[in-house]
């Protein structure tokens, strides 16, 4: 083919970008473009102009599973250390500056403190700092443990399974490392599978365990949580849960858990 003909090169560049140039002719043209700036810029002219057809389409939200898989793939190639366990109970009296904890935890802790302060301002309640005891109750009764007075945060969430009346009401109690999940509605027959609940964090999804398909169940909350809102997701997994520690099946539903207290 005579590539010296500028009209022909323009046409090939247009058909390359449109996709109608196929097979061997396409590969040949690709090789030509590698060596010739003019050809490359002609291809780019068409690529950027034709993209206008795509910009006109109504945006469509991809399912969360795509992002999960991406994160998983990225983290596999570039390990990132983010401690998710809560540290052991905070020291009762802080006298000196502690050695700096791992940065991720520091950020999370900072967020938690900030959220606590914001919340205290919003609802006019004094939130005791770690190591501080709550104000004494006005009416003396049996000594009450501090956490009850400190109003440890509770996050609540309602997750519905699309195309069914199945839903879960969830209460997450970070202070107790515990989640209560109440299932209601008719569980659709999805075959021999488990439904796994995930907390979506900056470092990727963190498994919270398997959801009950009927009645009430208790799950562990293994992660540090902070902020006004958390994001949860439910994926379909092999019986017993994901074998990899990351979501492997489709995400069936996802939604926020709102800080209620």
């Amino acid at each position: 083919m005579k590539y010296e003909n500028p009209k022909l090169r323009q046409m090939l560049a247009a058909e390359y970008a449109l996709g109608t140039l196929r097979g061997r002719a396409r590969r040949r043209f690709e090789r030509l473009a590698r060596g010739e700036t003019a050809v490359r810029s002609e291809i780019r002219f068409w690529e950027s102009r034709l993209a206008g057809f795509a910009v006109g389409l109504e945006p469509q939200s991809p399912p969360p599973s795509v992002w999960f898989s991406l994160q998983h793939a990225i983290e596999a190639s570039r390990p990132m250390v983010t401690p998710i366990r809560r540290p052991v109970a905070p020291p009762p009296v802080v006298t000196k500056a502690e050695p700096p904890p791992a940065s991720a935890w520091r950020i999370l802790a900072g967020l938690a403190t900030a959220a606590g302060v914001v919340l205290a301002v919003l609802i006019g309640t004094r939130v005791p700092l770690p190591g501080e005891h709550g104000p004494a109750p006005a009416v003396a009764t049996a000594p009450t443990p501090a956490p009850a007075l400190a109003l440890p945060p509770i996050y609540v969430s309602l997750l519905k399974l699309p195309d069914s009346d199945m839903q879960w009401t969830l209460a997450l109690r970070p202070a107790a490392d515990e989640i209560t999940a109440v299932a209601s509605g008719a569980y659709p027959k999805l075959g021999a599978h488990s439904l796994e609940l995930w907390l979506i964090t900056d470092a990727g999804p963190v498994s919270l365990g398997l959801l009950p398909t009927a009645g009430e169940g208790r799950l562990k909350l293994p992660a540090n949580v902070a902020g006004a809102q958390l994001t949860l997701a439910v994926s379909l997994e092999p019986v017993g849960g994901s074998p990899t520690g990351q979501p492997t099946g489709p995400v069936l539903t996802s939604g926020p858990a709102i800080k209620a207290v």
């Binding site: 910009v55 939200s61 399912p63």
Partner: protein, 188 residues
Amino acid sequence: MSYSTADNERLVRLLADTGLGDQRAFAQLYEACSSHLYALLLRMLKRRDWADEALQDCFLRVWQKADTYAPEKGTPLTWLLTVARYRALDLLRMKRPEVELPEEGEEAPMTFADVSESPEDRAVEREGLGMLRDCMKDLQDEQKRSVLLAYYEGYTHQELATVMKAPLGTVKSWVRRGLARLRECLER
């Protein structure tokens, strides 16, 4: 483009940071652009599982190759859309023969009815297409349809001939004349 200059500058920055391995920037880039790419992939591939796969491939590629982006390759969004579209074309080439076009080619594929409603009503009538939309008006109907079918359906000349029920040579000249006319107009 429906993106403002400020949006565009933000995307350029996010893409640059992504190229340096910044996961947070990558997440924001995904947040800002994935729904546009997904719309195109769904439109071309018709199947959610394929679109999911293609979207993931694209962004993985973007994560690995973000540092190869340069402004002369277009705005970040058009660059990302181009990456997505080429990925979709590859997937169609690999996967469509067995499902989409019947052996005999007697019947037009299902996608034909869909497109004959005129994709230009859905796409070209929207704002943000500016010059491209105006220039498409210069094309004759068959030229316009063949270009749009090739763009949105990823059809080859042969597939276009089947779908448009016209000889291969005729379809090729529709595509070429359409593109030539479009180029003249876009250059103006």
